[in-house]
């Protein structure tokens, strides 16, 4: 492997808010991302994802350790690093609502030192790419949330970045928009760009990333392939059910792969920890005339516990 696109060595960041105890947001994080990879940074709220993205984006200094983007130090060589980066974060901030989508892109084109001609061409191309052509000349304040997010992505691409940092770029998007967005992210990787995608959404991490780093309370828990992650996710399911009697629940409790059944006012939650068991349980519930059945994914915490346990067993 040549120079990694992103190289993080023993990076730590401690915040020292006034009149409050210090917060260790990142604790000795090391990670290398090869060029052309979509790397997921998966962790619950407060895990330190944004802190890491900010340090890599040169807007926050680490307390210790170092990080490089394409070989350039993010603390000392900001001049070399900044033109290489595209930054996209979720939410509706970071755009000028009174300008049109096209004007926003032209504005950032100027900041990324494009000539007027380059700006015009790139802007048009990006507008088409993110599907904003019809609304490009309307003010951003009239855009839906999903449109603003797409404009954000286009904004992040104005400088033709080789390395993209996406911090929860699909928060608040409807599922369809989020899916299209993910397709776009995959296209960007196919063009040879390196992407660091911070998210707390396990399915997002599993579906678009080449590798996923799990982070919790500032520490790297594991770097996994999305397959491993996917197996864990699909193995652990929860089934919330209503309208079945205690006898049926008792029967289900005895099935292999069912790890627990908890009854709660009128319904029950069944937890499953083996692939395939979900299907058996669902079949049984439908036969028993359940009035409502809903499956949901395990929480991130549960996946963490499981991944750590699995590794414990391997040792």
């Amino acid at each position: 492997m040549g120079t990694p696109a992103v190289e993080i060595e023993e990076l730590s960041r401690v915040f020292e808010p006034r009149k409050k105890p210090p917060v260790v947001a990142l604790d000795d994080v090391s990670l290398a991302i090869p060029p052309g990879e979509i790397h997921g940074l998966l962790g619950p709220n407060g895990a330190g994802k944004t802190t890491l993205v900010k340090i890599l984006s040169t807007v926050l200094l680490p307390t210790s350790g170092r990080a490089r983007v394409l070989g350039h130090d993010v603390v000392d060589e900001t001049k070399a690093v900044r033109p290489l980066l595209g930054i996209v974060f979720g939410g509706e901030r970071g755009l000028y609502w009174r300008l049109t989508g096209r004007q926003n892109l032209a504005y950032w084109g100027a900041l990324y030192k494009l000539s007027a001609r380059e700006t015009k061409a790139r802007t048009q191309q990006l507008i088409e790419r993110v599907g904003l052509a019809e609304r490009a000349d309307e003010r951003v304040e009239t855009y839906s949330r999903g449109m603003k997010q797409r404009l954000h992505l286009a904004r992040g691409l104005v400088g033709d970045a080789t390395v993209l940092f996406l911090d929860e770029p699909t928060t608040g998007m409807d599922p369809l928009a989020a899916r299209e967005f993910r397709t776009l992210i995959a296209e960007l990787r196919d063009e040879g760009r390196t992407i660091l995608l911070a998210t707390h959404d396990m399915v997002e991490a599993e579906t678009v990333c080449d590798r996923v780093t799990l982070i919790d309370r500032g520490k790297v828990v594991a770097t996994e392939s999305p397959r491993t992650l996917g197996q864990v996710i699909s193995r652990f399911q929860r089934i919330d059910v209503e309208g079945v009697d205690a006898a049926v629940l008792g029967e289900i409790r005895a099935l292999t792969g069912v790890s627990g059944v908890t009854e709660a006012d009128g319904g029950a939650r069944i937890e499953v920890d083996e692939e395939g068991a979900t299907r058996v349980v669902l079949g049984r519930l439908v036969d028993a005339g359940a009035t409502s059945v809903k499956t949901s994914l395990p929480s991130l915490e549960e996946v963490y516990v499981q991944l750590i346990d699995d590794r414990g067993l391997e040792l």
Partner: protein
């Protein structure tokens, strides 16, 4: 592109972004019917006051002072660009871009300097003749660049304040109010500088109105060119000084933000 060309390009776009904010508030019609009418009424009020309490000289003194004050008060409003909440979301992106955010901040509110100069000149050239003031042609032409200079200096001063208010958002309105009162009271708008103690004159001279206003009064009163040019030069120095401090304060804001983590997307 050359460094200069890219800088100018960024300033141009920042100016446009600022103007778009402004155009969302005012149309040409509402600008004329709302803002200009208010400005002229305000200047006329002070002129009328002068007529009541004194002679023509007092009237014209107040009329000129309060017209030029409009340029200053408008320019100083550039400090409000910090309260435009979306800045909270763009600052880290500006810092992370290959261009310096201070280029943006130096131009973001400059439409206010243009607006201030136009408003002040309109007030002077409309209210002046209304009160029978003699505007000596062609000397009076020199008032145009001098008013622009006052507006620019005030804009620089407002931008400096913006850098301060950025960190202490809660004091924004207090700063606006204090600034307006100081400019009105301490810059020779309603009473001559000689009225103040010496120490205050120094303070007055570093404020963005005083020197330019003296130059403008000089033009209208037929003072000798050397005095006028001297005051105008001082005004320019004040403008450059405040802009230098403004840029330094934004630089400071960015590097401090990198250290303490206050550069927030505010998502």
């Amino acid at each position: 592109m050359t460094a200069l060309a890219t800088t100018v390009n960024v300033m141009h776009h920042a100016f446009r972004a600022g103007l778009a904010d402004y155009r969302a508030i005012f149309t040409w019609k509402s600008w004329l019917a709302g803002w200009m009418v208010r400005v002229i009424a305000q200047v006329a009020f002070f002129a009328l006051l002068g007529e009541r309490i004194g002679d023509d000289q007092k009237t014209f003194y107040l009329l000129v002072g309060n017209s030029i004050l409009v340029a200053a008060l408008t320019g100083v409003f550039s400090l409000n660009m910090t309260t435009a909440e979306r800045w909270a979301g763009t600052l880290p992106l500006l810092v992370a871009s290959p261009s310096s955010p201070i280029i943006v901040f130096s131009a973001r509110g400059s439409y206010l300097a243009v607006d201030g100069a136009l408003s002040a000149l309109a007030a002077l050239f409309i209210a002046g003749p209304m009160f029978g003031m003699d505007l000596p042609w062609p000397r009076v032409v020199a008032v145009v660049p001098l008013t622009a200079l006052v507006a620019l200096a005030s804009y620089c001063f407002g931008t400096f304040l913006a850098g301060i208010v950025f960190r202490f958002r809660s004091i924004n309105s207090l700063v606006v109010l204090t600034t307006h009162v100081s400019l009105m009271a301490a810059c020779g708008v309603n009473v001559p500088l000689s009225y103040y103690p010496d120490a205050l004159e120094w303070f007055s001279r570093v404020l963005p109105v005083t020197n330019g206003l003296l130059a403008i009064r000089g033009v209208l009163d037929g003072a000798d060119p050397a005095t006028i040019l001297g005051d105008a030069a001082l005004e320019a120095v004040v403008a450059v000084g405040w802009m230098t401090l403004a840029l330094a304060s934004f630089n400071q804001l960015a590097s401090r933000g990198r250290r303490d983590g206050s550069l927030d997307y505010g998502a």
